[in-house]
Point group: C2
Chain length 156, copies 2
Amino acid sequence: MTHTDGMALALQAAREALAAGEVPVGAALLQGDRVLAMYGNRRERDHDPTAHAELLALREGARALGDWRLRDCTLYVTLEPCPMCAGALVMSQLGLCVFAAPDPQKGCCGSVYDLPGDPALSGVTRWQPGPGREEAEELLREFFEGLRERGVSSEE
Amino acid sequence: MTHTDGMALALQAAREALAAGEVPVGAALLQGDRVLAMYGNRRERDHDPTAHAELLALREGARALGDWRLRDCTLYVTLEPCPMCAGALVMSQLGLCVFAAPDPQKGCCGSVYDLPGDPALSGVTRWQPGPGREEAEELLREFFEGLRERGVSSEE
């Protein structure tokens, strides 16, 4: 499975989140070619501040494997992980995170911080920008424009 | 409810985690005097890298309130939150986090980073060291000594 294939799953989950009225971010966790989990953001539906796509995918994938250590897994996500999710990459010993769009406001894989890359946290996770940025950003734009049209103040 | 009362709940959850063979960290989420959630770490039992006490308490508490925003809530936790959990404090807009023992290795409320206090992340969460440090550290010591006696390499 190529990075483009992996990201296509994450983008599909992001589109489903958009359709459900959520901030459209999606994630897919793979071990080789095996898809362990695919999730869109569910924060509003679940009234759960931790229900970001990445955290949901890491949790379900680890349960599927029966091990919280995800060293040989790759997480595809449509937006650069926030501090919570970047911390979760570190805590799960994830192998690789590939993200589509950078997040200059809250991104913690190189934008605001590089939590996985900080030797002080003894992390093993590598990360890299990947394919799909244009579509990922278009989904976010569509969501926030919809909010503005309805006069709702945005809150990511 | 005083900080000592709140931390007593977190310490009780940490003791239960120790008895279950988990790294003994506990957390309690309160809204005024109302206890919204009380959790010990469940990482090994649930094979879930995100099943830290803090994350579990934030998740259950938010669902109980029907709102992911926890601005008027206080989280008591026996160990300074890791990057993932400190990020979750920020993402949940938690009011206050009180922790018992600092964590010089992974703590992100002042030790390695101060994620809640960083204006770049636009967080609103305050944090402070609180009561219970001695007992919290004693529980951790007991756990890691037990691992060493059994010849298991520690992995926090």
